[in-house]
Assembly symmetry: C2
Homo-oligomer: 228 residues x 2
DNA sequence: GATCGTTTAAAGCGCTTGTTTTAATCGAGG
DNA sequence: CCTCGATTAAAACAAGCGCTTTAAACGATC
């Protein structure tokens, strides 16, 4: 029970996460993971039993680190729903895109979404569903009361889909967007701003440019309020 | 140069496609491909040189088969832009989702989008970019003339993102949607209908339910016109 | 300093991978 | 019928895989 025991475990988890994220479960090799972690080739089996259990641990670690770490900013009770929607969208985008040097957590979770293993159901129930239901309730602020459930869900899927697309199809989007524009206009704030106003435009049946200025004003007010 | 030469090649391509789609390039095995194709274990190397070249062939085959095969229906010159948008959205959805027993082509192309190899650039320039520019022009029907290019692109990305989401996150969406509702409301037509009217609502700053009835009427008119 | 559970190191096991090799089979032309 | 290039079949190859084993090194306790 040396003090370095946890340190080695942690180094292996970190190395395994990035390998699993980059190459997928089957293609990642225990040898490479151990080498990257500076541990012996038998360390994975010693600490985690086998490759599969190591994988499950990394998925749990990834969802906790990534999803519970990045949260929407705290707001006053009186904050308008438009800002809450913006916060939600921005948080979702930040979880997908926001990070220097692209940590492994998001890639790993994306793999689970795309090709769920047993680790996915836990992920959905624990993290995705609550967030999704919160978004649905938020959207009810503008939807007519008679809107059927299935349609409410689809509106929410539309919002999520717009956000996720910038990560899933990120490389293709990059090919379709001039580099100059990408640098200038694909910041988290600007993407969140676009998706929020486009969504609000469809829900409030008002022109996009009106909502552009309205949301900009709302955000500036809040920025001043918190800075003072 | 027996007459069966092309037949064997074709069988191997078909088997390789489904294996590559299901397991990815590295995880698919030449042995399994040959077994599935009813060919000998050395056939891949004999006909294609090596595994890599076989993969490139299957990607080319997939994009041609899938993308050129499913096209929007022919329309009159006078067809309103709303219907063209609906057609485009529906075609995109059909390419993603529409097929009995889920052929391998879409999965393979999704893999290329998610983790592009050298085969991807060809795919983008040949298929994705033209379709994307067509969509942008279509959306210009409702966007104000002053809208900057980067924003026009983002609106188009929003439309594509909503469509693609139903494929990329299909399994998670299934977990979040009651099975009953999925059977009833996740048909190609209904998904396309939802995405189209939501998009039109934001662009025409009119309520969703108004556009629901308008688009429904437009489509019914066209259905009657073509059936008569 | 000896002892004993914990951790590391290195070698090896059985198996599967992509590819090559070698031999058998086929089919049309002479 | 024989021949010879094209194709198939089956075995073999080296390399890499997850995992196990064996033995050495370590560290606290007596």
């Amino acid at each position: 029970m040396s003090p370095s025991r946890d340190a080695v475990r942690q180094r292996i988890l970190e190395a395994a996460g990035s390998e699993f994220a980059e190459r997928g479960f089957e293609n990642a090799t225990v040898r490479q993971i151990c080498h990257k972690a500076g541990a012996n080739g038998a360390a994975v089996n010693y600490y985690f039993g086998d490759k599969q259990q190591l994988y499950l641990e990394t998925v749990r670690l990834a969802s906790e680190a990534r999803i519970e770490q990045i949260s929407p900013p705290p707001r006053n009770r009186s904050t308008p729903a438009e800002v809450h929607l913006y916060d939600h969208v921005r948080t979702l985008l930040e979880r997908m895109l926001g990070s220097e040097q692209d940590p492994w957590q998001v890639k790993l979770l994306m793999r689970e979404v795309l090709q769920p293993t047993e680790a996915c159901r836990e992920l959905v129930e624990q993290h995705f569903r609550p967030r999704f239901e919160y978004l649905q309730n938020l959207l009810d602020s503008w939807l007519p009361p008679g809107m059927p459930d299935y349609r409410r869900r689809q509106v929410a899927f539309s919002v999520v889909g717009q956000c996720v697309h910038y990560r899933m199809a990120g490389e293709v989007i990059a090919m379709l967007t001039p580099e100059e524009d990408r640098r200038r206009y694909h910041s988290l704030d600007q993407l969140a701003f676009h998706i929020t106003t486009l969504t609000l435009a469809s829900l409030q049946h008002r022109p996009i440019w009106e909502l552009d200025t309205q949301l900009r004003e709302l955000l500036e007010e809040l920025a001043e309020a918190t800075s003072s």
